[in-house]
């Protein structure tokens, strides 16, 4: 009888450990199982990405449809190249869509917003988004504001 | 001496030291099969160490310890564990496994070394416990036993596998007279009934001499006298007489070696 209680509690303990790991994975890290399998990859070049980081959100009208995979430099054009994974279900982005880097709130994280175009052709895996709008850099805004003030 | 026609253990030229201190210097001991052999000597002469050497728990510096012809110190770890299954040892403290009941303690060697079915293990354990008179105590935990009872349970465990050789490490120390009498009786009776060889390490002269067939007196790392209890009583050597009669001073001095007494007092700090 004593061994039975012990065995049950050890089993429950192991289960609790596994459950904790699953909770950590799903609730804390937001790991989704079917994420990368059904996605396609597009790239976009930006003059300035500001504080954009890998794994930032990619949104359409504020709804997340993918995430930033990696950020690099195009050495020929000297621009930032952002690779993003778009969910496979979001297959309604026309090839002339534009991408802009937005900020959540005044000091919040930065993310990419997609604005769909009107072309009949849709974005596919490996395509590039041509129209981009760089991040608003706060310092530039402030200096522009000051400069305008001075010239007035 | 017909007793030594059949010897189970043959220790030859055994040397063992701990750090700088030599414990055994050229020790020679032969143990006759089926008899009760006592190894006696003052405290600190390494009697327990000798049992550990026989059990292969310690390695000698040199010399041979032959058990049925196999030299213990050169055995591989696996062979050693096999040999030990045929040895039983009763430790000074009993050394029962504190997390098991009396029954499980006695059943333990059977479970490890045999694949007997459970009801057979039960029968054997009850037989062994019956032999030491503790069949009724089988559900108790070791912490609920008195010292003498714990030693009897340990004895039942030591003989669980019907070993060829049972070694007793100071079986009488710290026992009240009744428990002592029970143990003395038990060791003798088990030896006769089960036909194994017994080695008793002890410094309780009266009890040990009462049951031993043959006695070795060990002091300063070697055997100073041996013989049957009767023969030993007639040995003239001062050293032997001091031990056998329990005299406070003699060749084994009362004082631990020290400088000259008066000189040390006069010297100051």
């Amino acid at each position: 009888m004593r061994t039975r209680v012990m065995e049950i509690s050890v089993g429950a303990f192991m289960l609790a450990g596994i459950l904790a790991l699953i909770l950590l994975a799903l609730n804390v890290s937001g790991l989704t199982v079917s994420d990368s399998s059904g996605s396609y990859r597009v790239t976009a070049r930006f003059e300035n990405i500001g504080g954009l980081a890998p794994r930032a959100k990619v949104t359409l009208s504020g709804v997340q449809i993918g995430q930033v995979r990696s950020i690099g430099i195009d050495e020929r054009m000297l621009m930032a190249v952002v690779e993003m994974d778009i969910n496979g279900s979001a297959d309604y982005l026309s090839s002339d869509s534009s991408a802009q880097i937005l900020t959540a709130g005044l000091l919040g994280e930065q993310y990419i917003g997609i604005i769909p175009g009107a072309d009949d052709e849709m974005l596919k895996d490996g395509d590039a988004i041509e129209n981009t709008q760089s991040a608003l850099v706060l310092e530039n805004l402030v200096s522009k504001f000051l400069f305008n003030k001075v010239t007035e | 001496m017909d007793m030594f026609d059949d010897i189970i253990i043959n220790i030859r030229k055994l040397n063992f030291s701990r750090g700088d201190r030599a414990i055994f210097r050229g020790l020679d001991i032969r143990i006759p099969r089926g008899k009760v052999t006592a190894i006696m000597g003052p405290s600190g002469t390494g009697k327990t160490t000798l049992l550990k050497l026989i059990g292969g728990q310690l390695l000698p510096d040199s010399g041979r310890i032959e058990l049925d012809g196999a030299n213990i110190p050169t055995l591989s770890r696996r062979d050693l564990f096999e040999v030990r299954a045929r040895l039983g040892m009763l430790f000074q403290s009993g050394a029962l496994f504190t997390d098991m009941s009396v029954f499980e303690n006695v059943a333990f060697p059977l479970r490890v070394h045999t694949d007997l079915p459970e009801d057979m293990i039960r029968d054997i354990v009850l037989m062994k416990l019956q032999a030491v008179g503790l069949r009724g105590a089988r559900e108790l935990m070791p912490s609920e036993l008195s010292g003498g009872m714990a030693r009897r349970v340990a004895l039942a465990r030591a003989i669980a596998l019907d070993p060829h050789l049972v070694m007793y490490d100071e079986p009488f120390t710290g026992q009240d007279p009744i428990a002592m009498g029970v143990l003395v009786n038990l060791i003798r009776r088990l030896n006769q009934a089960l036909g194994h060889t017994s080695i008793i390490v002890s410094h309780d002269i009266k009890e040990t001499l009462g049951i031993a067939d043959y006695v070795y007196l060990v002091s300063d790392g070697s055997v100073i006298a041996h013989g049957t209890p009767k023969e030993l009583a007639q040995v003239e050597s001062e050293q032997v007489r001091q031990f056998m009669q329990g005299l406070p001073d003699g060749p084994v001095p009362f004082h631990y070696p020290a400088g000259e007494y008066r000189a040390e007092l006069m010297k100051g700090v």
Partner: protein, 260 residues
């Protein structure tokens, strides 16, 4: 002068001897090929003693540490108007650092010391010798199950610690301080990466479990078998294990997150 050098040399040799013996012990445990059928009940029992019985202390301290993190994080972050990031702060500090480290420290105090004392007492009461004389390898019967139990339990305890801590943090910041629940979880999920953070945290926990149980088991097995020796060995277990956990944590952190 020469005496001091000799003392230093002797100290060094003693230490080196202990390191060597602990290595031997580890080798024996890893090599002692367990018979799974006979090992399993022993392992089960040890997981119960080492893991299940440590659960209460892990739950309570995990929750309080999570709550404190939530409170502290809020008061710091609210000055910058980014109190929504408290979820991210609580989760990252728990998952990466606090859960494995604090759980390991508690584990060393709760289970490690008990392991040392138990094995030391077995040695003092000749139970280990008696096992050897029965023909049972104490490494296999006593040491290995305890070692593997610690190894298994530590990551489980660490994961439980982390999840309870996150829950405690959510309790304070969402329910009491009124941070919007959606942004609390979204921020957290956005910044915590499963492989980078959670798996690395678990790897840390496994490493700590290894070190703590190794030290605990070795100190017990190697102790002077007297009551004083056992108490010293128990103290050494807690001290050495804690120091090793903290030192190892720095090394592992540098390896895992150093280039970020």
């Amino acid at each position: 002068m020469l005496d001091q050098i000799q003392a230093l040399g002797r100290y060094g040799l003693t230490r080196l001897g202990a390191v060597g013996r602990s290595g031997m012990l580890l080798a024996h445990v890893l090599v002692a090929r367990p018979q799974p059928l006979k090992m399993f009940p022993l392992l089960l029992k040890q997981i119960y003693f080492v893991g299940v019985l440590s659960l209460v202390i892990i739950l309570v301290s995990g929750m309080f540490i999570g709550m404190v993190l939530g409170l502290q994080g809020y008061t710091i972050l609210v000055d910058y108007g980014s109190e929504q990031a408290v979820g991210q702060m609580v989760a990252l500090s728990l998952v990466r650092e606090l859960a494995p480290v604090v759980a390991a420290l508690l584990f060393a105090g709760r289970a490690g010391s008990a392991l040392t004392a138990e094995i030391g007492l077995m040695k003092a009461t000749e139970q280990l010798s008696s096992l050897e004389m029965i023909g049972v390898d104490p490494y296999r019967q006593i040491i290995a199950p305890r070692f593997w139990a610690g190894f298994i339990c530590m990551p489980i305890l660490s994961a439980i610690f982390a999840i309870v801590g996150v829950w405690g943090g959510a309790l304070v910041s969402v329910d009491w301080l009124g941070i919007y629940e959606g942004s609390f979880w979204a921020n957290m999920q956005h910044s915590v990466d499963f492989y980078e953070d959670i798996l690395n945290g678990l790897i840390k926990a496994v490493a700590f479990g290894f070190v703590v149980t190794w030290i605990a088991v070795f100190q017990g097995y190697d102790c002077v078998p007297t009551s004083e020796g056992i108490s010293q060995a128990t103290t050494r277990t807690v001290v050495y294990a804690s120091l090793w956990v903290l030192g190892l944590d720095f090394i592992l952190t540098a390896l895992m997150f150093g280039d970020l």
